[in-house]
């Protein structure tokens, strides 16, 4: 009796082990897509926050006309890289704190389409030239004050002439963090300072030099702080436009 059981079990095992010859022998994804999102006027990378800022939208149209979008998050300086993609034809565009690359009118007709159709293979590089909603620039160098706070001066200007994307400016934010990853998704809320504007009050501030000082009293010394200023308008998802990250050393 036991012998029969063993034979049966053996048979099942052998059967299970030898069937399913067809293994998944499709090559692992090994194609690299890299590139950057830059200001069409100045050529500088569009500063953003990592994860919740600029993202690259890929529509892989090799197999269907209506694919589910695939997104790649951009890095803080507006560059992006993904080294694990499949080769194929993609319609690529970017979403972020700039005039949308694909715009539709109220009837759903596409009126602007700056997305690029690209054959992705080996290492493919794509550059997007866009118009930021706001340009935020440092004025001078941020300073560490005697009372232990940091003061920064910035200036923001409109990055586009299109009145459809010149909504009211809602706020300017001095973000402070202990690492170089700093922005609205990642900041020390004890020190970071926000200036908000009601209604259209902020529009007059465009082009002027704005001085912001950190809040919350003196910051602990003997270390570096990473600071960055963001400003945004009431457009859409209210992305921030940023300056680049500067390091301030606390004595």
């Amino acid at each position: 009796m036991k012998k029969i059981l063993y034979i049966l079990a053996m048979g099942v095992l052998v059967g299970a082990g030898s069937s399913c010859k067809k293994i998944d022998n499709y090559d692992a994804p090994n194609v690299t897509l890299t590139g950057s999102v830059v200001d069409a006027t100045t050529g500088a990378g569009i500063q953003t926050e990592q994860g919740s800022g600029t993202r690259i939208k890929l529509l892989e149209i090799s197999y269907t006309a209506n694919p589910t979008p695939f997104y790649i998050s951009s890095m803080q300086d507006g560059t992006f890289t993904n080294t694990k993609l499949f080769a194929g034809t993609n319609v690529i565009s970017a979403e972020g704190p700039f005039v949308p690359m694909v715009q539709t009118d109220d009837a759903g007709k596409t009126i602007v389409d700056e997305s690029q159709t690209v054959q992705i293979k080996n290492t493919t590089t794509v550059t997007f030239k866009v118009h930021p909603l706001l340009r935020v620039e440092w004025v001078g160098t941020p300073t560490f004050n005697a009372d232990g706070t940091i003061t920064a001066q910035v200036k923001f200007t409109r990055g586009t002439d299109d009145p459809n994307f010149q909504q009211d400016i809602s706020d300017v934010y001095l973000f402070v963090n202990a690492t170089k990853y700093v922005g609205n998704n990642n900041y020390d809320n004890r020190y970071s300072q926000q200036i908000t504007y009601d209604g259209s009050a902020g529009n007059a501030a465009a082009g002027t030099t704005i001085t912001i000082t950190t809040k919350g009293g003196p910051m602990p010394g003997k270390r570096d702080y990473f600071i960055r200023v963001g400003a945004r308008t009431n457009y859409g998802l209210k992305y921030y436009n940023y300056t680049d990250v500067k390091t301030v050393a606390a004595p």
Binding site: G108, N234, L237
Partner: protein
């Protein structure tokens, strides 16, 4: 040979005669003819659809979704109405953690309503035409209310008007794309208009009648109008359907629809004033408390009933003050913020509207903690348990600690204004939990550092904001019954007060948009004052005092803890400004040992819980599984 003949004949006889009817309906499944041929069957069908109706009641939290018993991340702790130890920031409704998702629950309810509408006419001969029309109207109401739950979350959604069957239709037919947000609101309005026309004046408690349909319409149209006016997000599909956003030119149309629908309830419902008396704050307070428990209240437009032990919730168990905690060990999940309390009248205030606790840089001293609230608006007392107020016959004792420092020349603020730091430990005695070590006062008597209901620095199972919620708590429930799944008070989903507030807001917005076919501003003024009079609040003296914030704050005060405010903050598009790295404020009562008196410190939440509303959440994320299932479903922006 003969043998074979017999065999063949007997086989033929058996084969032909046996099992004549194989295709019989399964006997263990209730059939349409059993349900739809009697009024009782229809009542049973309705009972189930109503239980599926997606309303945010005692059994809803954004963390765990609809119809879930465990409510420890309560909705008010997401909006800033309250703080809870189990909720540390803003959130949108849990998307991928809910199984089934709100999306799929809604479409299930819609299918049940559609099935009812398609099946009932086949059995119409059993009833009078009035009965049939009324029931069809009721099904339309259910469908509209469910679509409203979808549109307020996701914007434009697929409209399914007929029961989908498979097989019987192709996959392409079953893949329905999203409709524009505007069309969904129009669809809701059409369903509710049908319901209003066809339903009768009265129905069983817990079921809709024609005025319930009108009341829901006033709510839905107000949302639509607000989105037309305040939304800035756009999402248009390739056929030109605007899935997110409504053209601003439609704002007037929708606000008018909201106004007109609200006016339909005029004379059929009224504000609850059974034990109200002019000028008598105690009577007004009792009246406001009783309103939530009087089954005959003329203010209840639409309710969901509960009954122990078949259909229950645990509101009392989760939210009683700490000192009245039940055997499950839950308490104090909803602790109103000072921001909420400061909206009300009758408390001393500074010029900027914040509560006044100091004079000339020194704390004001009070013999009892309730002295600060001696003139408080009755509605505030009926909504919030203030420190030292009575509940279930005991004083709810809320004290942060004992101040042991010198009081000569007055006590200076413990912390600089706006500080988020911890309190200094010198000169303050405090408790980390309910097991307290009494402190000996200078006169030799003993006193616990913290009150019986908090505030404890360690476990936070107490009034962490200095307040505890009173609204909905049964005032005479014995502590032995303060248990999970033991509460069965009725949820009032739509009160006439909300209808008046809808009307006032629509009227205010119409006036702001330059409409003058009626005196809208005076109408808004009248409705707001009716609400305020019943509440025992200060009345507006003229239409000049009406601002958009007055209208909105009246809503916050009247409908606080009724799970409505989050949706309001979203449709006003103010949530991202209100919750922008925001720390809500609390009021901490201290006892000064040397003065033998209390003082209050208003400060930010000691836990430093920061609330930030992500702008994307104005349109919630459609569950990823639904996007993957359908080839034509488009995700909302930013997800």
């Amino acid at each position: 040979m003969k043998k074979y003949t017999y065999i063949i004949v007997s086989v033929l006889i058996c084969w032909v005669s046996a099992c004549k009817k194989l295709d019989v309906a399964p006997l263990n499944i209730v059939q349409d003819k059993d349900v739809f041929t009697t009024a009782g069957g229809i009542q049973a069908y309705m009972s189930r659809i109503y239980s599926e109706l997606p309303i945010e009641d005692f059994r809803y939290s954004p963390q765990r979704g609809l119809n879930f018993f465990w409510i420890i991340s309560p909705f008010p702790a997401v909006t800033g109405e309250a703080l809870s130890r189990d909720q540390n920031g803003a959130m949108q409704e849990n998307v991928d953690g809910l199984n089934p998702s709100t999306w799929s629950l809604c479409y299930k309810a819609i299918r049940d309503a559609n099935y009812f509408m398609e099946t009932l006419p086949q059995y119409a001969s059993n009833y009078t035409p009035d009965q049939v029309n009324s029931w069809l109207g009721e099904a339309r109401f259910i469908r509209a209310a469910t679509y409203f739950a979808l549109v307020k979350r996701y914007g434009g959604v697929p409209i399914i008007e007929k029961v989908q069957t498979y097989p019987g239709s192709t996959i392409d037919e079953l893949n329905v794309p999203r409709t524009s947000e505007e069309k969904v609101y129009d669809f809701i309005a059409a369903d509710l208009d049908y319901a209003y026309t066809n339903m009768s004046d009265a129905n069983q408690v817990g079921r809709a009648n024609k005025y319930v349909a009108a009341g829901f319409k006033s709510r839905a149209m107000l949302y639509a109008g607000s989105i037309a006016k305040y939304n800035t997000t756009t999402l248009v599909d390739k056929d030109g359907n605007r899935l997110c956003g409504i053209p601003s030119s439609k704002a007037i149309t929708y606000f008018k629809a909201a106004y007109d629908a609200a006016a339909l309830l005029d004379g059929h419902y009224s504000l609850y004033k059974n034990s109200w008396a002019a000028g008598d704050k105690t009577a007004q307070f009792n009246n406001y408390v009783n309103m939530f428990f009087d089954a005959k209240s003329a203010e209840n437009v639409f309710v969901r009933q509960y009954h122990y032990p078949e259909s229950v919730h645990g509101y009392d168990a989760y939210n009683v003050p700490r000192q009245l905690m039940g055997a499950n060990g839950y308490s104090s999940e909803v602790n109103p913020t000072l921001n909420f309390v400061e909206l009300f009248d009758g408390i001393p205030k500074n010029a900027d509207g914040t509560i006044k606790t100091t004079t000339g840089g020194k704390y004001d001293l009070y013999t009892n903690t309730m002295d600060l609230f001696a003139n408080a608006e009755p509605r505030l007392r009926a909504t919030v348990i203030l420190p030292g107020d009575q509940f279930k016959g005991v004083n709810i004792e809320i004290r942060r600690g004992i101040y042991t420092g010198s009081s000569a020349g007055g006590i200076s603020p413990l912390l600089p204004a706006g500080s988020t730091s911890n309190y200094p430990t010198t000169n303050i005695v405090q408790s980390s939990n309910a097991t307290q070590e009494p402190y000996t006062l200078p006169d030799g008597s003993k006193m616990n550092p913290a009150g019986l209901s908090g505030v404890f620095t360690g476990d936070q199972t107490d009034a962490i904001s200095g307040f505890s919620v009173r609204k909905w708590l049964v005032p005479d429930k014995p502590t032995s019954e303060v248990l999970e799944n033991r509460s069965d008070q009725t949820w009032i989903e739509l009160r006439y007060a909300e209808v008046l507030l809808n009307r006032a807001e629509a009227a205010y917005e119409l006036n702001a948009l330059g409409q003058a076919d009626k005196d809208y501003l005076t109408d808004a003024f009248t409705q707001i004052n009716a609400i305020r009079e019943r509440a025992g609040a200060d009345l507006l003296t003229g239409t000049g005092g009406l601002t958009v914030n007055v209208v909105r704050n009246e809503r916050r005060k009247e409908l606080g803890f009724e799970n409505k405010i989050w949706w309001d903050m979203r449709r006003w598009r103010t949530a991202d400004k209100e919750q922008n790295s925001t720390v809500y404020r609390v009021l901490m009562p201290f006892y000064s040992a040397n003065d033998k008196k209390y003082f209050f410190d208003a400060r930010t939440d000691e836990r430093n819980a920061r609330y930030t509303f992500d702008v994307r959440w104005y349109y919630e994320q459609i569950p990823q599984g639904e996007i993957a299932k359908s080839a034509v479903l488009i995700q909302n922006p930013g997800y």
